[in-house]
Amino acid sequence: MNGWSRLSDKDVLSGAIFAGVGVWFTAQSMNLSMGTTRSMGPGYLPMLLSVVLIAFGLAVLVRGLLRGAGPITAVPLRGLVAVVAALLIFAFCTRGAGLVPTVFAMVLVTCLGSRRARPVPSVILAAALALFCMVAFIWGLGLPLSVIGPWLGGY
């Protein structure tokens, strides 16, 4: 096994992630007051827990180095990127653009994540879902969002 395949081992990777997250939590806890054992401050337990997390992370990492759990399988980026992009569109555009255009755009972007989705049905689906969201969530459940937002001349 060469160096690279060891680095892509599932245990080595996850161990490193856990240890790294633990270090981040420890660093964050440093800024908090520890208090005493009798009267624990806000930093006491986080510090304790994050140190234990680092220990577990290192244990997983070492186990990976010694035994190996097999390399991580390829991460197909297409679906991941499309879905995350769609969510970010929602997060950053609903207030400005309104619900209907946002949902329309986000469905089109999500469809790009699938190899099997075809353009025309995707557009129909996007329109249908945008309409459904308007009826169900704004009219029905009273979600405080505008149908068409200020960016597009709505209110």
Binding site: S14, L49, T73, L87, L129
Partner: protein, 502 residues
């Protein structure tokens, strides 16, 4: 005692049979089945997606609807498992084995009916158990001090990890990440901000729903997009929905055994539906006179696990309602829902919210009844739903998750948070790290910290309080025993075996 039970149940009946609650129960079961039957959406994702729908309801109605969603989702998952061999959730993995074979032999209707009948019987028995045992358990829990509570939570967390599948070390690491994330936000005692990165949006802590939907809902979608090979839906028309007399005789014993097994395993932390169904399948195979039929469409292989997973789903409410401790991700969601409704989960719920508690119990039984009444005639519609291709389904899931998470606090930030946790959850699953312990840790984290801090105040900073108090000591010994037991090579092998059996 019996009189009490009857009086309490009548409180429950009058609550559950109010027109509103009947409707919520019905709507829950229907919606749960509707979403749960869609391939690739598990129970947790279904409940998380539908959780925002219940926010506007009164607490009793919300909880009744959520539990209806839970059974519905579970039954929907079984339907998917039987008809297209695609279990939407871990607890119906074993159902898929023999159920799908039955379907291929033209007995899909019988398999579906068996699942429904078994679930109903198991649900009825488990609901009775819940009514009988929850109040005394809550009475015991009321005497618990902070030390006992701390140890109980430690036991709950450890046991739920010990009984789950996969690597112990990773599960522990995931649990600690969850505990730490759960502590995020403003500290209740000092007002200090923890892990907020200076963001105003995180002062109230990391939004639970955003994390659940990200890690269970969206991450699942991304995973399904990896492999888009088409799934074959059985095109044969479903006929002979009703099992013959011979079928009924054949399923009776497995249903009873599955119910018993599921009821016991459901109470255990980490048990719940999944472990119950696996254990029941193994048991049925062992006691069967024709073990060679298993995997080729054995009726017992559907009847046992389906009863067991429903019984387990039901009895896992016992620790949640009486102790306020989640034993699995679904119960973690229920606790989240209670907290959103302004109810502190714990032993006080039984005495302080009798209408909620007993109403929920009665409506559980009612929900199970509705499941049977609703599903047998509607099977045709569910089958139609199954044929919706995934590439037109998942954009809808993504949209509903986004709107759902947004609606919790009307906060766009939570949608971003969900996207982040979706990536985190996806990567972790790729690395064989189960997301469930993280979720349990997240829910238990704040409660655990509060009790530890109180215990240390009581003991004036002496950690010996946890071992000097007898109940607390016993709980900790049990927790230690659970870890040691799972770490032992012999038992470890058995544990892996149990999960591989199917």
């Amino acid at each position: 005692m019996t009189f009490d039970l009857l009086a309490n149940l009548s409180v429950g009946f009058s609550a559950a049979f109010s027109l509103d609650n009947l409707f919520y129960c019905f709507a829950g079961v229907l919606l749960g089945t509707l979403i749960g039957v869609l391939p690739g959406i598990g129970t947790v994702a279904t409940i998380a997606m539908l959780l925002p729908v219940t926010f506007g309801l009164p607490p009793v109605g919300a909880l009744i609807m959520l539990s209806g969603i839970y059974y519905g989702a579970q039954y929907g998952g079984s339907t998917t498992a039987i008809l297209i061999n695609l279990p939407g959730e871990s607890s119906s993995v074993v159902t898929a084995v023999d159920g799908y074979q039955m379907a291929r032999n033209g007995r899909a209707g019988v398999a579906l009916a068996t699942a429904a009948i078994g679930s109903f019987f198991a649900g009825t028995v488990a609901t009775l158990l819940l009514a009988l045992f929850a109040p005394p358990l809550a009475a015991v829990a009321l005497t618990f001090g902070p030390a006992e509570y701390t140890s109980l939570m430690a036991l709950g967390l450890v046991a739920s990890i010990a009984l789950a599948s996969g690597s112990l070390l990773k599960a522990f690491a995931m649990m600690f990440v969850g505990l730490l994330l759960g502590l995020g936000g403003q500290d209740i005692y000092t007002g200090a901000q923890r892990f907020t990165l200076g963001l105003v949006e995180l002062i109230d802590g990391y939004e639970f729903i955003a994390i659940v939907m990200g890690m269970f809902g969206i991450a699942e979608v991304i995973r399904n997009l990896e492999d888009e090979s088409s799934r074959s839906v059985l095109s044969t028309k479903i006929r002979n929905l009703f099992p013959s007399r011979a079928d009924l005789r054949e399923m009776a014993a497995p249903v009873v055994r599955g119910t018993a097994l599921g009821s016991i395993l459901g109470i255990l932390p980490g048990g719940g539906a999944m472990l119950s169904s696996f254990a029941s399948y193994a048991l049925e195979k062992k006691v069967s006179r024709q073990p060679e039929t298993f995997g080729k469409g054995a009726l017992a292989g559907v009847a046992g696990p389906e009863s067991a997973n429903n019984a387990g789903a039901q009895t896992s409410f016992i620790p949640m309602l009486t102790l306020g401790i989640p034993s699995n991700p679904v119960m973690a969601l229920m606790i989240g829902a209670l907290i959103i409704q302004g109810i502190t989960p714990g032993p006080n719920v039984v005495t302080e919210q009798p209408v909620l508690f007993w109403g929920l119990i009665v409506s559980m039984w009612l929900g199970n009844l509705m499941l049977v009444v609703l599903n047998l005639p509607l099977v045709g519609i569910w089958v139609k739903l199954l044929s919706v291709p995934y590439h037109y389904l998942f954009p809808a899931i993504v949209v509903f998750c986004a709107v759902g998470v947004f609606s919790v606090n009307n906060a766009s930030f939570d949608v971003t948070l969900m996207a982040i946790f979706a990536v985190v959850g996806y990567v972790l699953v790729k690395l064989d790290c189960e997301p469930a312990p993280l979720l349990l840790g997240f829910v238990v984290g704040p409660m655990l910290e509060e009790n530890i801090r109180r215990a240390m105040l009581v003991s004036r900073g002496d950690p010996m309080i946890f071992v000097e108090r007898p109940i607390s000591a016993v709980l900790l010994v049990l927790a230690a025993a659970a870890i040691i037991a799972v770490a032992l090579p012999a038992i470890r092998k058995g544990r892996e075996q149990a999960f591989k059996e199917a």
